[in-house]
Amino acid sequence: MFPWIEAFNARVASLSFFPIIASIHKRHGQKLLSLVCLLPLLGSVAEGLMGQLGARPWFRAMGEMGEIALAMLIACLAITPLVQAFDWKFLYPWRRTFGLFAFFYAILHVLARAMDLGLDLGAIMEGMFTNPFLLTGFLAFLVMVPLAVTSTKKMMATLGGKRWRLLHKLTYVAAILAIAHALMAGKAGYINFLPQAVILAILLLWRLVYPTLRKAMQKPQG
């Protein structure tokens, strides 16, 4: 989009070790990324096995898993703007990985909560549809289900690119619900999740202004 970005990308591509990195990314990129995405879980499990999760281990694990789920969701949403801004097309496949891991960690978040509540179904369901804090979390989770289900190439083909892209705009809905949920969590959640809220707002804003921006940038060239 900007000439200096093109220059920067060309410069990087001309580095001597670039072909090696590019080929590793091509062959193993997805596996490596998945491994990285699993690290937070491994960290929490290790903490649990060492008794390091503190006085309320399941509650702490729930918080950690929720935070990672939200982070993955934001990472997933950051890909398209990054490609648009920097022309880093190699990032595209990361989107699916981040999205699926967001769902994975959301499941762990809900499971950890179930353990925190002693698997008591009454306590788990209490307020789920009436308490805005729980309802937003529940809806965020619900919205992520069709997104995960339609994440395969096969489903993409079945739905057709246009419908698939429209459906997957729901990622933004999931993220907005999840950030609302996180901001309402805990005694001072509104303080803890300000950075995530700001990043999400910037990403949303970018998607809104990008079409106009692109047109404006293209005009001088004809």
Binding site: D116, N131, K187
Partner: protein, 290 residues
């Protein structure tokens, strides 16, 4: 009343055959042992009492106070007593809370965030302290303030609350024999993260009433504003009595997680101290005066 948990039996912590990490994850279990209708109260471990804290002056994380409170200097320490009182002045801790008067009180502590502990406090009933200070007939409330010193309390550099932390009690609550000014727990001096050198303990109210590291007591005719009330008046009221029937706007107060146990247990009205304190609130709508 000294030394007793009102209402429910207490058993001291006991050894378990489980590996430590499993006991952490699955709890000590047996909370209903002995065929008691109500879960038995087991003292929370010293480790948990001193490492799982809310003390936003040292950070928002539960482990932050234990990590960062060490730098606070608690001796010498003075408390300013002012307002509607015959003996105002600046008191050293030992003069205000004489060590020879210290008793042990094992109380349940219910945090507004729906977790709870059982803590053996050492302290002096606030009523005894106040009687010596001789409040005037105009004193209807007593307000407390925590130290304000962002150098020692780095959390005060961010505007999480309107510092310094402030709390208050109605005079009859302050004079109630269960209300304690604590200087220690488990027979040891309070650690900084627990509010050294002196803090309030009001066992039938949510934990945030139990103001820590007190530097000021002010007797007044009108109701003082408290820090959490100022920050979110629809969520945290002046009374803050433990009440399973009045939910926090964002979460239920019906149950609580007793630290060290697996799962939840029912929350008791007035945290189980209703027999002693319910009469303080007769005629009041506790859903409105929450």
């Amino acid at each position: 009343m000294a030394g007793a948990v009102a209402g429910v039996g207490v058993s001291a912590g006991r050894a378990s055959a489980m590996p430590a990490f499993l006991e952490r994850l699955l709890g000590r279990g047996g909370s209903r042992e002995g065929g008691s209708a109500l879960p038995v109260d087991t003292q929370t471990s010293y480790e948990d009492v001193t490492t799982y804290n809310n003390f936003y002056e040292f950070g928002l994380g539960k482990g932050d106070p234990a990590k960062h409170a060490g730098r606070m200097v608690t001796r010498p320490w003075h408390v300013e007593v002012s307002g509607e009182v015959a003996h105002p002045g600046i008191y050293a801790v030992d003069d205000l809370v004489p060590p020879r008067d210290v008793v042990e009180r094992i109380y349940r502590m219910r945090c507004v965030e729906a977790w709870s502990m059982v803590i053996p406090w050492n302290g002096v009933p606030l009523g005894d302290i106040i009687r010596r200070l001789k409040p005037t007939s105009k004193a209807k409330f007593v307000a407390f303030e925590t130290l304000y010193d962002p150098e020692q309390m780095p959390g005060q550099k961010s505007p999480v609350l309107d510092w310094p932390y402030a709390e208050g009690l109605r005079m009859d609550e302050a004079m109630h024999p269960l209300t304690l000014i604590s200087t220690g727990l488990y027979g040891k001096d309070l650690l900084n993260q627990n509010g050294a050198p002196l803090r309030l303990v009001v066992p039938w109210k949510y934990g945030f009433k139990n103001i820590k590291s007190i530097v000021r007591m002010h007797f007044m005719e009108t109701r003082p504003e408290t820090a959490w009330e100022k920050s979110a008046p629809h969520e945290y009221g002046f009374y803050a009595n433990v009440n399973p029937d009045v939910d926090h706007p964002r979460w239920s107060q019906k149950r609580e997680h007793r630290i060290g146990e697996f799962g939840q247990r029912p929350t008791l009205m007035f945290n189980g101290y209703g027999e002693e304190v319910a009469s303080l609130y007769t005629g009041m709508d506790l859903a409105r005066s929450f």
